[in-house]
């Protein structure tokens, strides 16, 4: 049976409808972005006209880095809940009795998290930049607008979000408890953030080549991750909590 856009779309629709009606999810997706917006914005606005260029540069680096945590933490929490949460609710087994394949199910889940996550991330980033342009001193506004981290952030937002989602889904497919899944998921999302941080703070020289290589590597990993996560999404393990004991496993051939 070939991959079906209808089935993927069905998962996306269902997920988004559930997000809209879940106060916990709405609160989580609202609080994190606000925290990561308020802190750097306050720091940037606090810079005085007389500040040294190194101080200015450091504040701008920090200011442009913190919003990058939004596309990591928000999807990591949502993705961690995606499979184990359904399992705890008892809704997973009925879904697995339908023709939906593992890849379709996971792609639907991932897309439903990816779209709002990057939407919120770009929105917060845009708000941050807009505030600096209208409320910060001219020197700060110019520094933010011409910082090399600005275009890099625009590229890295979707890449980091996708990484966090696949890590979260992989952990969610193996975890037996939502809270543990969410904690592990946040930890698992950190490695690419750490790399990005090292570049943002000039520990690794943020040349175009290094940034492009990191972005390219993340892109490849994000694309392949869907199939890797599908391998750990095992119907039998999810339903019975035990590993299949036979060669005849239904997770092969995308079933």
């Amino acid at each position: 049976m070939s991959m079906s856009a209808t089935r993927i779309g069905a998962v996306i629709r269902k997920e988004l409808a559930e997000f809209r009606r879940n106060r916990f999810i709405l609160t989580t997706t609202a609080v994190f972005p606000i925290v990561f917006l308020v802190s750097p914005t306050a720091q940037i606005l606090a810079i005085k006209t007389t500040a040294l260029s190194t101080v200015l540069e450091r504040r701008v680096e920090t200011g442009l880095f913190l919003p990058l945590l939004i596309p990591v933490f928000v999807p990591a929490i949502l993705a961690a809940y995606a499979v184990v949460g359904e399992r705890e609710q008892g809704t997973l087994e009925p879904v697995l009795t339908t023709p939906v394949s593992r890849v379709e199910f996971l792609l639907g889940k991932a897309a439903a998290i990816f779209l709002p996550a990057i939407g919120i991330s770009y929105l917060m980033f845009g708000v941050f930049v807009a505030i600096t342009q209208f409320a910060a001193t001219p020197a700060v506004a110019t520094a933010v607008l011409h910082a090399p981290q600005l275009p890099a952030a625009l590229v890295f937002i979707p890449l980091l979000a996708a990484w966090a989602i696949w890590v979260g889904l992989a952990i969610s497919a193996r975890a037996t408890d939502t809270r543990v899944a969410q904690q592990l998921s946040i930890l698992g999302s950190l490695p690419p953030v750490a790399l990005t941080a090292l570049m943002s703070f000039d520990v690794i020289s943020p040349t175009f080549t290094v940034a492009a290589a990191l972005a390219g590597g993340l892109l490849v990993i994000d694309v392949l991750a869907c199939f890797a996560v599908a391998q750990v999404f095992d119907r039998e393990r999810l339903i019975t909590g035990t590993k299949p004991t036979t060669e005849q496993q239904y997770r092969v051939r995308g079933a």
């Binding site: 879904v95 339908t98 004991t245 496993q249």
Partner: protein, 334 residues
């Protein structure tokens, strides 16, 4: 719920035809060191309502999950809805069947319609609104279509889950305890629905603990206890398991019961169940043919001057069969 208020009488159960809806051969499932299902073989005819009974932990749900392609067998083969069980056909099998687990598994923040619409899309159905409306009407939930499932009672959620399993017009329906938690009226309505499904040619694989339900609805039943203990029509099982007998009640104990009962046509033996000297007495006669034995026993009792209170053939229920088999199994495993 729509449909008539009475359950159609059960048609004569036919032997499974060549193209059975379900054909299971030597199915075994082992979880670690525990064998859940051991060497189980049976077949279910198209349009049959097949009861799958057994105590908790007997392997019923595991068997359903294997046949529903949710878990893989350790060994053995099966054909479900015309397709061999296996990785290559798993998705196609799931398209042709539906499974209603014991827990409804509904999204509580979504309405009944939204829940069904999700599954209709997963099945790739066309005319989704019509299918959803028909399914809800069939289970009597049309007026609750836009309620959040989290606000429904357990019985109504069970009905919504049943509506979900009707959506894809399945050739084979696996129903795991479909009347669990339902009140008598709602249970009866589910029974009517199952009977109507049989009339439409849908094969129903019914897992239940309610033996009265199985006896009333099922053409054949299988009793599991890791292994398949028995399979057949309820009346066949009763006959196979219990020797036929006549229960005789007299106003007072017979003086010489051996002389009264021995040598009568079809009577193979007798024993008393009320060994008191005074008051009414009860005797159980083992017979080969109750219809032939009853007149002869009556004549013999009258000739002996006995005051006969009743002569009847005891009726064993499916529950008697079940208890006999399950207690026998548990006794052997202790």
């Amino acid at each position: 719920m729509s449909g008539s208020s009475s359950i159609p009488t059960r048609p004569p159960a036919a032997a499974p035809p060549e193209a059975a809806a379900i054909e299971v051969s030597h199915l075994t499932k082992v979880f670690g060191s525990r064998t859940a299902v051991a060497d189980v073989s049976f077949s279910v005819a198209r349009g049959e309502v097949f009861g799958f009974l057994g105590p908790n932990g007997a392997g019923k749900t595991t068997t359903v999950r294997i046949l529903g392609t949710l878990i893989a067998p350790t060994s053995g083969t099966a054909v479900v809805a015309g397709l061999p069980l296996g990785p290559a056909s798993a998705a196609e099998i799931r398209q042709r069947i539906s499974i209603m687990p014991e827990a409804p598994g509904l999204y509580r923040r979504l309405t009944v319609t939204e829940n069904l619409d999700y599954f209709a899309r997963l099945y790739g159905l066309r005319r989704r609104e019509q299918r959803i409306s028909e399914a809800l009407t069939a289970v009597g939930l049309g007026d609750r279509a836009h309620d959040l499932t989290g606000s429904l009672s357990k019985g109504l959620r069970q009905r919504a889950a049943l509506a979900r399993s009707l959506l894809n017009d399945p050739a084979v329906m696996f129903l795991d305890e479909p009347t669990s938690g339902l009140d008598p009226v709602a249970s009866h309505e589910v029974h009517v629905l199952i009977a109507s499904l049989r009339d439409r040619g849908v094969t129903v694989f019914l897992t239940t603990h309610r033996l009265d339900e199985a006896e009333r609805l099922c053409d054949r039943v299988a009793i599991m206890s890791t292994q398949l203990r028995t399979i057949g029509r309820p009346d066949e099982l009763r006959e196979a398991l219990f020797s036929r007998s006549l229960a005789v009640a007299t106003a007072a104990p017979l003086d010489q019961p051996d002389q009264v009962f021995t040598g009568l046509p079809s009577v193979q033996g007798w024993h008393t169940t009320s060994p008191t000297a005074n008051g009414p007495a009860n005797y159980v006669l083992t017979v080969t043919d109750p219809a032939q034995a009853a007149p002869a026993v009556t004549r013999s009792l009258v000739a002996a001057g006995a005051d006969v209170l009743s002569i009847a053939e005891p009726q064993h229920t499916l529950e008697d069969v079940y208890l006999e088999l399950v207690e026998d199994t548990e006794g052997r495993t202790r």
